[in-house]
Symmetry: C2
Subunit: 461 residues, 2 copies
């Protein structure tokens, strides 16, 4: 429980938000604009090289919404340093989130313009939470998507998260461990994350361990004294010479030799893996596996496996951590309804489908076939993706999915994904997502109503 609390700070601070959210809140309070708003969180365009996005981060945002409040110290600061009115700062003392949340389950595969999270709450509450909700859904979906691609490229070989050191901060490091496990990665190197989320933790040795000892052989021998069934790093000085030392160790130790694997971390991994495999097999060590790391990503893993490289597992660090080929997705959190009326905006290339929505997914022989974005009230034949996870500020059962269950859901999603969308490059014809007739009509009607507003002289009197 202590771990859980640590992980949630400063997430639970109401001040982890953009200043404009609080300014709008003060104005809403002053105007008594407290009616129910519907905000939807979605992205407009798939990043390059992405044929799908795997949604993640829901568990975190529900924790945040349940705990959200403003402390006395924070209210004092807002009044004294933040330029907010005393009345507003007093009102914030009672603040907590009382709304409903609908969302797609973590691990669900989603596409352009499909709501991933839907917040239905009094306008000021729904507004304040925008920054944190975007921050977490964005990060975790970027990472889960990258990890799903790496897992797909690894075709059943084990993948381990080595990303902590190059992740963008501590929160990202923990979330990489969590979301990559969600997306099918087998373990993490981060001990804190392993403990916090109950994920298998793995790790072997660094080059410094070899360097600090009088010889490579002495280092390897000392390490298996403590950890007999470990993985040994062999490339500190010369990879194949390192492999020969492992074979010599096996000969010296006989029955006591329990080493599980060697790790290659530099050079031409394909060539070195083949030669290492041959040396190990010739040395009677066919049970010793080969794991590889060093600048790996889904593209390199795919290329290595395409050449039948005898690598049994992959440690993926930097690229899993930063998703270098697509570090951002254009997630937005937009008002679509207020006080029962659909809302839209028309900003150039940032238009918005108005009103509360649902996504219906159609299948054919267990494969996803197409999605339809519809008005929330519609009842189409497909499977609705958004389900209620919070009611009046409290989580419902559907909002309490365990990480293990979410991982199984993600596995099923990837199994149902059309085969061509597993491609690492963008396919020409992506997954079909259409808008229902009823939603299209509602959109056109609101555009006509807004035509009045578009008159430049409107409202100036």
């Amino acid at each position: 429980m202590i771990v859980e609390q640590q992980d949630n700070i400063p997430q639970q601070s109401a001040l982890f938000t953009d200043l404009y959210q609080l300014r709008m809140m003060q104005s809403y309070y002053a105007e008594e604009m407290n009616a129910i708003a519907v905000f939807e969180l979605f992205f407009r365009t798939l990043p390059s090289n992405r044929n799908f996005v795997m949604a993640a981060g829901l568990d975190n945002i529900l924790s945040y919404l349940e705990q959200l409040h403003v402390t006395d110290g924070e209210r004092d600061w807002l009044k004294e340093a933040g330029g907010f009115s005393p009345r507003f700062c007093q009102q914030l003392g009672d603040f907590h989130f009382t709304g409903d949340v609908f969302a797609v389950p973590e691990g669900t595969v989603v596409f352009e313009n499909e709501p991933v999270v839907q917040v239905i709450a009094p306008l000021p509450e729904a507004q304040l939470v925008e920054t944190y909700l975007l921050n977490q859904i964005h990060l975790q979906s970027v990472l889960a998507t990258k990890a799903a691609r790496v897992v797909s490229a690894a075709r059943g070989h084990k993948v381990v998260d080595f990303g902590s050191r190059r992740a963008h901060g501590t929160d990202a490091a923990l979330k990489i461990a969590r979301t990559s496990y969600l997306a099918g990665v087998n373990a993490t190197s981060n001990v804190f994350a392993g403990r916090a989320y109950g994920i298998p933790v793995v790790g072997t040795m660094a080059h410094s361990f070899i360097q600090a000892h009088p010889s490579e052989y002495a280092a390897l021998r000392a390490f298996i004294q403590e950890f007999p069934d470990t993985t040994l790093l062999v490339d500190t000085y010369d990879t194949l010479a390192g492999v020969r030392k492992v074979i010599a160790l096996a000969e010296a130790l006989g029955q006591d030799f329990k080493v599980k694997a060697i790790r290659l971390d530099s050079g031409d991994l394909g060539k070195l893996a083949k030669e290492s495999r041959r040396l190990l097999d010739e040395g009677g060590l066919s049970q010793v596996r080969i794991v590889a790391s060093s600048g790996l990503d889904e593209y390199k893993i795919q290329a290595l496996l395409a050449e039948q490289t005898p690598i049994d597992g992959f440690g993926v660090g930097t690229q899993l951590a930063v998703s270098g080929d697509a570090p951002e997705i254009d997630f937005s959190y937009k008002l679509v309804e207020y006080a029962g009326k659909p809302r839209m905006k028309l900003s150039s290339s940032k238009e918005l489908l108005p009103g509360r929505k649902q996504v219906f997914r159609f299948f054919e022989a267990d494969r996803m076939k197409r999605d339809v974005i519809a008005r929330f009230e519609e009842n189409l034949a497909g499977k609705p993706l958004l389900e209620q996870v919070m009611s009046q500020g409290k989580r419902l059962g559907r909002g309490r999915t365990s990480l293990a269950d979410a991982r199984e859901h993600a596995r099923q999603q990837m199994a149902a994904l059309p085969l061509e969308l597993h491609a690492l490059q963008r396919v020409k014809f992506g997954y079909p997502v259409t808008v229902s007739d009823s939603l299209r009509q509602a959109n056109e009607q609101l555009q006509r109503e807004l035509a009045v507003e578009l008159d430049p002289h409107f409202g100036a009197s």
Copy 2:
């Protein structure tokens, strides 16, 4: 103080590390390998489109080193779930960091192979801290470098950090606010960061505020009721119609009209800024400034200013937050000396200059001219970059630089940077960094010594 603590969790947990660090520690303890090690943190290659890196993150890692310890709960977990020996877990009860740290001041411009942080400590201590040190120096240097480029491209125009929502997690969001301020950005939108670091916080209104009101005019009017000297967002429906409403508001309010600026957030910013400026000037509102946001980065800002676009300030979000054109730098943390002897590794394309080092910087007429990487003991004529910031686990005065002082240091660094290195694209001939003769000789000598180790039959008996 409470804020400061929140920001440091879970950073201060000794379990925020890779499992292999703890495994190596157990082996070091068992072997009584407790002599002094020197580790250096540096990068090998400049990322594409980067002519320099601005070092940042030192303040955080010193806080971490001062507070580092293992809790009883963590030790229990390591014993029961982590597979560590009872003896080691007991030894961890006394663990804290007792070493010295040398570093370049935050905001210093650095280049390939130059040590940014140097840790001199008993081997197990220096090893454990690798993951957190890399995580923070990497993140904050990636962000400070990006921000320095954005500030340079903005040529004195104000720049504001809008990155929180697309930052990779909460820690990254706070660190963007901090490091971009360090690098010359003027303010942040993140309230928590503003309070925690004492950075100016700014913010106006979102499209949802306009959408929620019966008309754009009503929304603008309501907002300035609460915040008279605000910035008004004008592009929700039609940008120039929005500007005309601001002018109408000014006419209606007369002396009470105190609006400072309008914000453009979509469309052709160059064209819209020019037309908006003309409308405002014609409407007698030449004092109202124009700020722009929407997918900005240093390249777009440079292009807008090259066309004399009348934009007074820039809100930069996603690209400041994720540094999309260079989201990672290949920072490593490597053992260079143990028990008084220099150490190296020879892994293909990951070679290492052995021994503890210093960087000497040479100037000509206040401009940086060249750097020399030398053995630590050498006394070259240039200015040494690494200075002691921690002694025996306690911060020294040089390790307590305020954010304001670090910001001034960063400003001076950018002023001393050779003009051509301000280019946003990679220049053909980068900044000259050479290795001293003495260091080169030490390197060659160690290579000869390691030749013995490279004999594949060495040590196998």
